[in-house]
Amino acid sequence: MSEIMEDGVSRRSVLKGSIAGAGALATTGILGAGTATEAHAAGKKVSVGSNQSDPAAKKNDAAWVAAAKKAGFDVKLNTVDHNTFQNQISSYLQGTPDDVFTWFAGYRMQFFASKKLATPIDDVWAKIGSQFTAGYKNASKGLDGKYYFVPTTWYPWAIMYRKSVFAAAGVDPKTIVTWADFLNACKTFKAKGITPIALGDKGGWEAMGTFDFINFRTNGFKFHMDLTAGRVKWTDPRVQKTFNNWKTMFPYQNTDTLDLDWNAAAQLVLQKTAAMQVMGAFHASIYTDPADLADLALFPFPEIEKANGREAVEAPIDGYMLSKGATKNAANAKGLAGFIGSTGYADAVLKVAPTALFANSKMPKPENAFARQQVELVQSCKYIAQFFDRDSRPDFASPIFSNAIQKFLGGGDSVAIAADLQKQWDALPSA
């Protein structure tokens, strides 16, 4: 699921001790413990570092580890709290990392590859390459053109809604194609006393999805990728077009966006007080009642500029990388990477997570209707973005951009915000 879903308390408690002023150097190697040194049962020993700390995700890990065991791998799984894993990733990779570790496609994967903290796996891809489409192949390569990543699962972002709420208001989601259609539907809901769009941005990252969509619908996919990578300036007038288009949504959003996190906003949709949420497919995770889940559906974010259509989508890809330490255990680690890329991995996870979507193209189409909708959505798109905080620099996305978005949602002046963003981008160290 999203790497930035927050459980602030747990992250805080882990790191509480190290924030007092002088902690700069104190944290290296917190995650370094636990390489595969223990003598275990027979099998090809590989250690795997996992950020899958949620109960549901843990079940997925257990399932594929068991399958890997049957395939002859003795996997030693080190699961670390999701946020901690992410925050400590660079000291983890520099310490004594596990041979294989969970990570994300996009800028973040390429960053560690270019810092020589990952092992290239072209030989693995020579074996598994035929099972992946070109989009996944490209998403798995570093800037040097070598493969560094094995994609496993993914999920798209779209507009989530309940079919019953739309039916009761007499709105057909299939007719929502253009921005005008979308705003009209919003008007209908508002007139019926339903909040048209539920948005929560307490964590600062949730609304990035909406920004991304409006930006590449307004200015095109290339502009969006150039902007997130810093090749276009934030002071470019096209950025203002994006912000202005977003403002047309404001009258239809709940007013307490900064009080709610994604989960609280999703609850509004679940409880039928709001009609839609721009969210990742993990929106479904709060639908515990199967009847509610069957009522859940999605439709693509509407078109804004005709030229850009609805040809781009956000669909972050999760997967695995090999650490630089894996060279010591290269045969086993690469063997396991091959297994992770195979349908053996996907079959095992599918058994415990029927709505999961796999990168491996040899997997059968999902049976679950909501999952099938997600596949169709992504297949209809020409361009796939990873999400702002995976496409942009981490030292920009979290500490700088998330605060700017909150300021914008709080009614801040978008011209001043954009100028501020550019100044802060310019002050970033050269990557």
Binding site: R12, K202, L258, D259, L260, S398, P399, N403
Partner: protein
């Protein structure tokens, strides 16, 4: 210094030297060990990291690679933080507000509470426990309790009749309001802490001092101000230091509420986000930590200097 005290001053070193000579070699080894070991630990775990942090604050480093990858950039981090970093202004403002709120409201209230509880009024034990309770509760619990009180459909809004969707008062989400709510919560915790520290001090005040003051005809307030308060100077120093440190290292409360964003920026969160987060802007974060360090140490040194100057 006047001349008649100077003889007394001249005498003391002699006496001290005599006493010093009576230490055996073993004594010295033991004392050296007792003093030396903690000192070495202190230097190793506090001063060396602190000096390294200050050094790093003049550098650019992404936390990857060794010393060769650290680039010296002089004061650039500082100038950029002061001129470009959008969160620095709000963070500094909030830390100063925090200091003012604790120093001018919470700490005096804690002292007053301690004073009354020391009078052994009826139900003293209950009040003492009640006031100290916030300090005992884990922050997660504190966060949940206050969230119930101030959330959009929470207690306060219900009392104000502002709990209908669309008409709620956003206590935690509005960047102009949330800092005041948080300062209230921080004060709520701080009062009990100061009360307990001060109460311990008051218990140690020699009762004969009070009696003497009473015999001299001093009123309640005058006794406190002229007799008790000055005799508690060591406790006062501790309280000032605790107040300054508590307010400048503020982190957990805002982090629990909204990760220290949107009106609740504080310097400690900025340090954390830049150093420990995935962004790993070590030099930049170290510069923020150094600014925080200077802010902490400044008022404390000033106060200690004043206090010990007056002692002489």
């Amino acid at each position: 210094m006047s001349t008649n005290t100077s003889t007394a001053v001249a005498e003391t070193p002699q006496r001290r030297r005599r006493r010093g000579n009576s230490f055996t070699a073993k004594d010295r080894a033991v004392i050296g060990g007792l003093v030396g070991f903690p000192t070495a630990l202190h230097i190793l775990l506090v001063w060396i990291p602190a000096i390294l942090t200050i050094t790093l604050s003049f550098c650019e480093w992404d936390g990857i690679g060794g010393i060769a990858d650290i680039k010296w950039v002089g004061f650039r981090n500082y100038t950029q933080i002061f001129t470009l970093y959008a969160d620095f202004g709000p963070a500094l403002r909030n830390n100063i507000l925090w200091l003012l709120a604790l120093a001018l409201v919470a700490t005096p209230l804690g002292v007053i509470l301690a004073y009354f509880i020391d009078k052994e009024l009826k139900g003293t034990k209950f009040y003492q426990t009640a006031f100290y309770l916030p300090m005992v509760l884990s922050l997660a619990v504190t966060g949940i309790v206050w969230d119930y009180i101030f959330r959009n459909n929470g207690f306060v809004n219900a009392m104000l009749g502002a709990d209908h969707p669309g008409h709620t008062i956003s206590w935690f989400g509005d960047p102009h309001k949330n800092i005041w709510v948080v300062l209230g919560i921080a004060s709520w915790r701080h009062i009990g802490y100061i009360m307990l520290l001060y109460l311990a001090g008051l218990k140690s005040v020699d009762p004969s001092l009070r009696e003497a003051a009473a015999i001299d005809g001093a009123k309640e307030f005058a006794t406190f101000r002229k007799v008790i308060f000055p005799s508690l100077r060591p406790v006062n120093v501790i309280i000032i230091v605790v107040t300054v440190i508590e307010s400048l290292r503020a982190f957990d409360l805002v982090y629990v509420i909204n990760r220290g964003k949107n009106g609740l920026q504080v310097l400690a969160v900025a340090v954390y986000e830049n150093i420990l987060g995935e962004s790993a802007r070590i030099g930049w974060g170290a510069a923020l930590a150094t600014i925080l360090f200077v802010l902490c140490i400044g008022p404390i040194m000033l106060y200690l200097y004043q206090t010990f100057k007056a002692d002489k």
